[in-house]
């Protein structure tokens, strides 16, 4: 490849300088360490940690996962070491990475989001905070905030008050009008919006006549939900002016391009990492190839280039 053909995949999203627009989605890359043998984390634009909560959580009873057509359901229930466990055991590794680390948080109350934010801000070296107001698998917090524009705004403005770091709100698709939620979190100070989290789903064991998941329902992810994610991205793109981080079923370069063209400034690879741990790096390479072939010199020329 000659220099003339070099494509610049770097981008600045909500004040975060990314080497490329491919991030690892929360909950699908742990805290990085287990993935490193299969994927050089320095190759992706950034990694978003598994959601951490103020206190450690055990998560839901198993079974926690079940495969569905072109996708899977999960009902992990935010098993995580808690804020202090994260700081003590996970951050030391993360802080050494040559990629941007975005910390994803959730909490049962609005106030606790603020406390967590202050603590994470104080770590130094965190690139941004993604707020998970969209987890469908827990009884308090999560999607209960994310389904309500007022509650969503309360959480985001609280986080906003506690940090100068970029704040990203992660939205749920399980709502009547996602643009309403998007507007309210942007008004509350979100620098960017990630969408989508999982769709609520269920699977039944017809022999035992029981729900398969220990938690009855779970979150649907994977290629099956890609069309839903794209439609929501397209709507939100027209509703707010902040950068959007698109995700939902992205497994290939082609998928990533659909999101970028529709208006995502960056994309996140989730479930695909389970199937192919190197998927995100493959997509980075694929985006370069596509841009070269299509004569696109800078990523920005691609983002939102959808004709109508």
């Amino acid at each position: 490849m000659s220099d003339a053909q070099q494509v610049d995949l770097s981008t600045r999203v909500a004040g975060i300088d990314l080497a490329n627009p491919v991030l690892l989605a929360s909950g699908t890359c742990g805290y990085g360490e287990e993935l490193e043998p299969f994927l050089r984390l320095a190759e992706v634009g950034g990694i978003i940690t598994k959601t951490i909560t103020p206190e450690p959580r055990s998560g839901n009873r198993p079974p926690r996962i079940v495969e569905t057509p072109s996708g899977m359901l999960n009902a992990i229930g935010l098993q995580n070491p808690g804020l202090e466990g994260f700081v003590e055991h996970k951050w030391p590794f993360l802080s050494t990475l040559e990629t941007k680390v975005i910390v994803n948080i959730a909490a049962p109350t609005v106030e606790q989001h603020g406390e967590m934010t202050a603590r994470i801000d104080a770590l130094g070296g965190v690139a941004g905070i993604e707020v998970n107001i969209s987890c469908p698998n827990i009884r308090e917090g999560g999607v209960l905030f994310g389904c309500n524009p007022r509650a969503s705004a309360d959480v985001i403005s609280t986080v906003r008050r506690h940090t100068k770091l970029p704040v990203i709100a992660k939205l749920t698709p399980n709502v009547t009008d996602i643009t309403e939620i998007a507007r309210s979190v942007v008004d509350a100070g979100a620098d960017a919006v990630s969408l989508i989290n999982t769709l609520v789903g269920m699977a039944v064991d017809i022999e035992a006549r029981r729900p398969i998941l220990g938690n009855v329902t779970g979150g649907l992810s994977g290629p099956a939900i890609k069309p839903v994610a794209l439609a929501m991205l397209w709507k939100v793109r027209q509703a707010v002016d902040v950068p959007l981080l698109g995700l939902g079923g992205i497994s290939s370069t082609q998928d990533a391009l659909e999101f970028l063209i529709t208006g995502a400034s960056a994309i996140q690879v989730g479930t695909a990492t389970f199937v192919k741990p190197g998927a995100a790096a493959d997509i980075v390479a694929g985006l370069g190839d596509y841009c070269r072939k299509a004569g696109i010199a800078r990523l920005d020329d691609l983002v939102g280039s959808l004709k109508s």
């Binding site: 043998p37 299969f38 055990s58 998560g59 079974p63 479930t271 741990p277």
Partner: protein
């Protein structure tokens, strides 16, 4: 597979039915010596795969042939993923992530290994038995199946043990009854047995309870639904018996913390 865990593309070297529904698949990965240890598994799927089946499937490595540079898995065709696998022909390409998980721990020098397997739990024990014999040990292998036709042929079982004891639920071959009957007998016979087990959950629970009562050490290899297989999804958990200080540790990930556990660690 090389000496470290990797995601590589292999090629089907051989593939045949060896018992009713059970198939033996040998895979070669060019330029990489197989290195899985007994109890470790791979996450595999046909390379040319659509999004259904979607996730990979975990299969224990049952054979490692460092001379032929292949490794083998033995699997039962039970659903969409194993059905897709069964369609693969010699030369077809297959994605292999592994070796994954922790191997069976070593056997203390003066102990007699007793391997207790049922159904799709037998493959890792074949690997273990063959390995133990290569180190000079003389393991007992107890194998249960629903019916005679579901038993692996002796030429696959015998490399793992000179003392193969069979049971069938329907009495069509070997002992009419459960492997736990044969286990009870072996525990009586042996001075210092150590038990290694893999199989259906009820079987392993029974083995765990028998060994605990007899105060015999038992290592169980668990099989749970997996998404990633390498620790990031936290989907493949089972409950720990000894409550840890943090709720975070109540559940343990079978793929990276296991799949082999001391049977007394687990809530059965």
């Amino acid at each position: 597979m090389e000496e470290t865990t990797k995601d590589l593309e292999g090629v089907v070297f051989s593939h045949e039915e060896v018992a009713d529904g059970f198939r033996f698949l040998q895979i070669r990965i060019d330029g990489h010596l197989p290195c899985a240890r007994p109890g470790q598994f791979v996450q595999i799927r046909p390379s040319r795969t659509t999004t259904t089946p979607f996730l990979r499937m975990p299969l224990s490595v049952s054979h490692v042939d460092r001379v032929g540079s292949t490794f083998g898995v033995l699997y039962d065709v039970v659903g969409p993923k194993t059905r897709a696998l069964s369609d693969m022909n010699e030369g077809d390409r297959i994605d292999c992530l592994g070796p994954l998980g922790n191997p069976f721990p070593d056997v203390p020098d003066d102990a007699r290994p007793v391997l207790v397997g049922g159904g799709i739990g037998v493959p890792p024990l074949l690997h273990l038995g063959t390995h133990l014999r290569s180190t000079g040990m003389d393991p007992i292998l107890i194998v249960g199946a629903r019916t005679a036709g579901k038993h692996l042929p002796l030429e696959l079982l015998s490399p793992a043990s000179e003392h193969v004891r069979l049971a069938t639920d329907d009495g069509s071959l070997g002992h009419h009854g459960f492997v736990t009957d044969l286990l009870a007998q072996a525990l009586k016979e042996e001075d210092k047995p150590v038990v290694y087990t893999c199989g259906p959950h009820p079987m392993m629970a029974a083995v765990a309870s028998a060994t605990e009562s007899a105060d015999v050490r038992c290592y169980s290899s668990l099989e749970e639904y997996m998404a990633c297989g390498f620790g990031v999804c936290v989907g493949c958990v089972v409950e720990r018996r000894t409550q840890a200080n943090s709720p975070y540790d109540q559940f343990t990930r079978v793929c990276v913390d296991g799949p082999v556990y001391d049977a007394t660690e687990i809530v059965w």
